[in-house]
Amino acid sequence: MAFPDRFDGLPAAPRCEGVYKVTGDTRGNNVAIDVLGVTKVFGAADSGFRALDKVSASIRQNEFFTLLGPSGCGKTTLLRLIAGFEFPTEGRILLDGEDIAALPPFRRPVNTVFQSYALFPHLTVAKNISFGLEMLGWPATKIASTVERMLALVKMEPMADRLTDQISGGQQQRVALARALAPNPRVLLLDEPLSALDFKLRKEMQIELKRLQGETGITFVFVTHDQEEALTMSDRIAVMSAGRILQVGSPREIYDRPTERFVADFIGETNFLEGEAKVAGDRLLEVRLDAGATVKATAPDAALHAGRTTVAVRPEHADLVPGDGPADLTGVLKNIVYFGTDTHFHMTLDNGVPFIVRQQNTPGEGSGFSIGEQVGVRLHADAAQALKD
């Protein structure tokens, strides 16, 4: 997809073809944004609110990078620092290797899609989209053709002359996207852009966003508190809590191999089991669980040590078996919750710890288990993940 140069007079930044595939390298030429030890304190330096605490992250070119965390974790502050609405108390932010931390927002080739959309109410849809281009001083013919292409990209051509309060929420969302994409920024920042949409529209826009990212090849930095949204859309996710980035990785890494209890707990449902560990190899622990069984657990470097440890087991990484057969863990079935696609079995293990098993439903009869029954659990190979304490 051929896009015009962003700034006339400035050379266009080199672009990769297609979506850049993630490799282990984070300090190569492929980095779009480098956040280096950034701290942001609101109020007095020593007593104020520490929204970000020595945060570092590398966001690669053409990547769909998600900042995920509960409200107040600092994800929006980090986004606003990249956009230039706030300035870091400490640390540096590099864009294509150049320090932009001191530049005002209108000097950064970075555009934002705001949570509130922030469309200009006195301008039409088309004028909203052309606003950034006019400010950049593009020639009128180029502005006209770009606006037309943007309208087509977000399928809003029939609405071009409407005012922004005359279109629906989903359409406003599209206009906000088109407006931010029109100047062809190096990085597009999205601040919970889908949170105001209803469920069905949100699903549609998730697919739409992925399509737009693929077609434009622009780096997306996406902020959300919705873990499912993060998992389905992102190339990589940074999980944040209390002003720190806890873990960065692909959705699968984050889901299957959480390194911390917070990450495991925040994303999806998880069972936590305590036990006594000893090192059993490279990134491998052998954990004798308090609940009975001894399991092999994958461990991040920070958790690779002997002694007390916590392992996480996803509910779908275990099978429920009758109580009289061979099993890793045993306990009493307390509750059965039917979810349509699957069923959750809530049980209490013999040592009193709660445990949930999720089974895919099959057509026909029920599960065959009943509440109050003595049942067993078999863990899948690789199911256990040791957590940093």
Partner: protein
């Protein structure tokens, strides 16, 4: 009765009741706004009384003729009433300049207040309204104390050696402008603040994000979105400026009359009530025409903004 007839009867009853209930308000509004106008209109077409007042049931258009024309005292020839026209012109000119000055001063003030935290905003608005607590005449005399030849400005400037002779400010158009700007500034600040308080400052951020620098944000986002406040403030300042009486009387002296003083003169020493009434109505028409032109112009400018 058919169901729809019942419904219509109910609607009719509802309409009746609404009119009856709003009747007192309508009567007051009608009497208060149109009553005095009718009296003025009637006075303007009656013959003037010998010692003020009018002669009832003696119609004459002298009042209206005298607004624009006058007989030369010596030759008796009919000519334009130059004095009246120059007072008209001075009033319009000073009022436009006053409106512009209050806008230039009031806009940053209102912006400042609107960008304070919610709690402190109320305090600032309260401070803006404090001058209203004191009688206008007293404030105007206080103003005289500031600008007269032995006043604060001249004394301080002379002490500092910036000037050797006092600058004559009193009894000039500058004094009138100075006074009117001071008096009418709150009337500009308050409506401006009201529209700025409603301004979504996230739009300002969005504009910054889209490569607009501070000046462009002001021109392309803040000004268009606060236009209702600018219009309201301008109207609230322009109209009373045009008819100002106390300020030009005290600070402008006898030579720098404005329309308000001219009208006052006709009802006082001039003993020419029909002329005073006619000038008042002329003033009102001028204001209405000015408003129409202004609203039309800004509405058209708004249309351009939408780029249709």
């Amino acid at each position: 009765m058919q169901p729809h007839e019942v419904e219509q009867a109910a609607i009719r009853r509802g309409t009746m009741r609404r009119w009856l209930l709003s009747a007192p308000a309508l009567v007051i509004i009608f009497l208060a706004s149109f009553g005095p106008l009718f009296v003025m209109l009637a006075f303007s077409v009656l013959e003037k009384g010998d010692y003020g007042g009018v002669k009832p049931w003696t119609f004459s258009f002298d009042g209206w003729a005298n607004v624009f024309f006058q007989h030369d005292i010596f030759t008796g020839e009919l000519g334009f009433a130059d004095a009246h026209l120059s007072i008209f012109w001075r009033s319009v000119r000073l009022s436009i300049i006053t409106t512009a000055l209050t806008l230039v001063l009031g806009f940053p003030t209102a912006y400042f207040i609107a960008t304070r935290p919610r709690k402190t905003r109320e305090i600032w608005v309260f401070l803006v309204t404090i001058p209203f607590w004191t009688n206008l005449l007293i404030r105007t005399f206080a103003m005289q104390e500031v600008i007269r030849n032995e006043g604060v400005i001249n004394t301080v400037a002379m002490r500092l050696g910036m000037i050797s002779e006092p600058i004559q400010i009193m009894y000039t158009d500058w004094a009138v402008l100075f006074g009117m700007t001071y008096v009418y500034l709150p009337l500009m600040v308050l409506p401006l603040y009201a529209s700025m308080e409603k301004l979504d400052f996230r739009l300002v951020e969005a504009a910054y994000d889209l490569y607009a620098n501070r000046f462009k944000v002001l021109r392309r986002i803040i000004l268009p979105l606060t236009k209702p406040g600018i219009i309201a403030g301008s109207i609230l300042v322009f109209i009373p400026s045009l008819g100002a009486y106390v300020t030009p009387r005290v600070l402008g002296g006898g030579k720098n009359m404005m329309l308000g003083n001219l009208i006052g003169l006709q009802f006082g020493k001039g003993n020419n009530w029909p002329l005073g009434a006619a000038i008042s109505i002329t003033l009102m028409v001028v204001v209405m025409v000015a408003l129409l032109v202004y609203v039309r112009a800004t509405a058209r400018a708004g249309g351009d903004d939408r780029g249709r």
